[in-house]
């Protein structure tokens, strides 16, 4: 059995952890902004809703369905030319954040749309009956009523981003994924690999716990 060099491992692990956290946090923030916007547009342009527009809804929906089936590992490679234009480089956390934000944003967009559509039509009707105009109904009734399930959806995406970040490590994004691949896959250092897995598990558990807690607060159920 080989010696386990904790002193050498720990700094690497800490560095990788913060790289991952950096990528996940930034891409999550961008993805949330993008996703909520997509969700609001999809919801409002839907048939029968306030900004009903079959063309906008159709095009947006088509683009989403175009991107979603592409496996993340392939998408991140396919996006390299675009990444070079926007970020200036195709390696490192910054490059990964772009792809992560787009993929996360599109997923959040669908989740947000689903949650907005699921809001009890009775509450919307009550709002109209009280004299609230459509935009007011959207932002003071539909969005707050959808918030609890939406927060659970966001948690799901946050976890998915941790996962995707590790995948991005294969194409030079750095972080825990790179660490695990470099030591585990290329050098057969199982200890480093397991250490990375443990850190990932802890991150996911904490994220899910916090997400559940915030969602419960928002749902008042």
């Amino acid at each position: 059995m080989r010696d386990i060099d904790l002193d050498a491992l720990l700094p690497k692990l800490v560095k990788a952890f913060f790289e991952t956290l950096h990528m996940v946090t930034f891409s999550f923030v961008f993805a949330t902004i993008l996703g909520i916007l997509i969700g609001l547009v999809l919801y409002s342009t839907r048939k029968g809703n306030i900004l009903e527009n079959a063309v906008v809804f159709g095009i947006l929906s088509f683009i989403i369905n175009l991107v979603r089936p592409i496996p993340f590992i392939i998408l991140i490679v396919a996006m390299i030319p675009l990444t070079r234009i926007i970020v200036g480089t195709s390696i490192g956390p910054g490059a990964a954040i772009l792809t992560l934000s787009i993929v996360g944003g599109i997923s959040i967009g669908r989740i947000a749309e689903t949650n907005l559509v699921a809001v009890d039509p009775g509450t919307i009707e009550a709002g109209s009956a009280m004299g609230a105009r459509p935009l007011r109904v959207l932002f003071t009734i539909v969005v707050p009523e959808a918030l609890g399930p939406l927060l659970l959806g966001l948690t799901y995406i946050f976890v998915a981003l941790i996962d995707a970040t590790a995948v991005a490590g294969t194409v030079g994004a750095g972080g825990l994924g790179s660490l695990a691949l470099t030591y585990g896959y290329q050098r057969f250092d199982w200890f480093v690999m397991f250490a990375v897995i443990v850190v990932l598990i802890v991150m996911v558990q904490v994220a899910q716990f916090l997400g559940n807690w915030v969602a419960r607060k928002a749902m008042h159920a």
């Binding site: 009775g122 009550a126 009956a129 004299g131 609230a132 003071t140 009734i141 707050p144 008042h220």
Partner: protein, 357 residues
């Protein structure tokens, strides 16, 4: 009345009218099939009325109710609310008009993400009331509906009756002239229904709010409405004072609704059972508040040498007036019974129960 239409209706005439449905029709078109939800409905709801609309599901009563605040717009005809064609208002004017038309729902439709306090404050914020006035008004409303201690609770923690009381408080927030109720007690148990109806009665009496109630429960009509319209297949088949509708329904649907709560008339099965014992002729006598104390039944029986048995009947009281029906078996020769029926009919409406009824 003539020429009123030319001047757009005389003001005086509209003073006492809260809602007037004028030849309202509504057709829904979905995937090529058309459905006429309302056809040619005309009704007038006076200020201070508690007006009930009763009908089976699909009769069009909820659609009619929803034309009052333009949640539905008539395909033809007009709904005049407080003297204005509600469907013709601009979006902005409609928004303001709706603040004066409270609405309550079968499923309460409270905002789950807000406390009781914030549910009631919602319409006040919409109306742009300053914050300190909102606090006062919400407290006043909470007290009126008896939920002061629930101000900070979320709707999921309330019982059905409490939710509907929040719904009522919310609907009353901006001092509406009209309250419309869409099956507001249909999801509640009988005891809670009674409490909610008591509250609506107080809303009507203490605040003078005109209430339009849609229900499929004739008990609700009997307990709070002073006027009622019966709907069937998108049409009003009968309307009038609650007393008249209950005491002398003419339409078949109305009769079925009335007999769901009043058991003055024997059903077909009951008639068969009665006939198994009572072979004489059966007649039904209308009973109501009588001015005279003439004991006409025994007098007529004596005069024509006819005997009688009471075989069925019931008497009810509505708005402090009595009404009912007694089914009698008359025994005697055919010509004597004929003469007795003729004389009884001088005192009260009489119908003979035919053999195959």
């Amino acid at each position: 009345m003539y020429a009123a239409g030319l001047s757009g209706g005389s003001g005086k005439e509209h003073m006492n009218t809260a809602i007037s449905f004028e030849r309202v029709s509504k057709t829904f078109v979905t995937k090529g099939t058309t459905f006429e939800a309302l056809s040619d409905v005309s009704l007038t709801v006076e200020r201070g009325d508690i007006f009930g609309i009763v009908g089976y599901s699909g009769a069009g009563k909820s659609t009619l109710l929803r034309t009052v605040n333009a949640l539905e717009r008539p395909t033809s005809g007009q709904v005049i609310v407080d003297g204005r064609d509600i469907a013709a208002l601009s979006a902005k004017d409609l928004s303001v008009a709706r603040q004066k038309i409270g609405m309550i729902f079968q499923q309460f439709n409270l905002l789950q993400s807000r406390t009781v306090y914030n549910n009631i404050a919602y319409p006040l914020r919409l109306a742009g009331l300053p914050a300190n006035k909102i606090v006062d008004r919400v407290e006043e409303l909470l007290e009126f509906v008896g939920l002061t201690d629930k101000a900070l609770a979320y709707p999921s923690k309330l019982s059905g009756g409490q939710k509907q009381r929040v719904g009522i408080a919310r609907a009353l927030a901006n001092h509406p002239d009209i309250l419309i109720s869409d099956e507001a007690t249909s999801a509640l148990d009988p005891q809670t229904t009674g409490e909610v109806l008591d509250l609506l009665r107080r809303v009507n009496k203490e605040y003078g709010v005109t209430i339009l109630v849609v229900t499929h429960e004739m008990d609700v009509i009997r307990s709070i409405a002073n006027r009622v319209a019966v709907m069937q297949n998108g049409r009003v088949v009968e309307s009038g004072s609650t007393y008249d509708i209950f005491s002398s329904p003419t339409d078949a649907t109305t009769k079925r609704f009335v007999s769901s709560v009043l058991h003055h008339f024997p059903s077909g099965n009951a008639v068969d059972r009665i006939r198994a014992v009572h072979r004489g002729r059966l007649v039904q006598l209308h009973v109501d508040n009588r001015e005279s104390n003439d004991p006409f039944l025994s007098r007529v029986a004596r005069e024509h040498n006819v005997d009688f048995n009471i075989v069925y009947g019931g008497v009810s009281e509505l708005e402090s007036r009595l009404f009912g029906n007694i089914t009698l078996e008359l025994l005697g020769t055919d010509s004597d019974v004929d003469a007795a029926i003729r004389d009884l009919a001088l005192s009260t409406p009489v119908t003979e129960v035919t053999q195959n009824a």
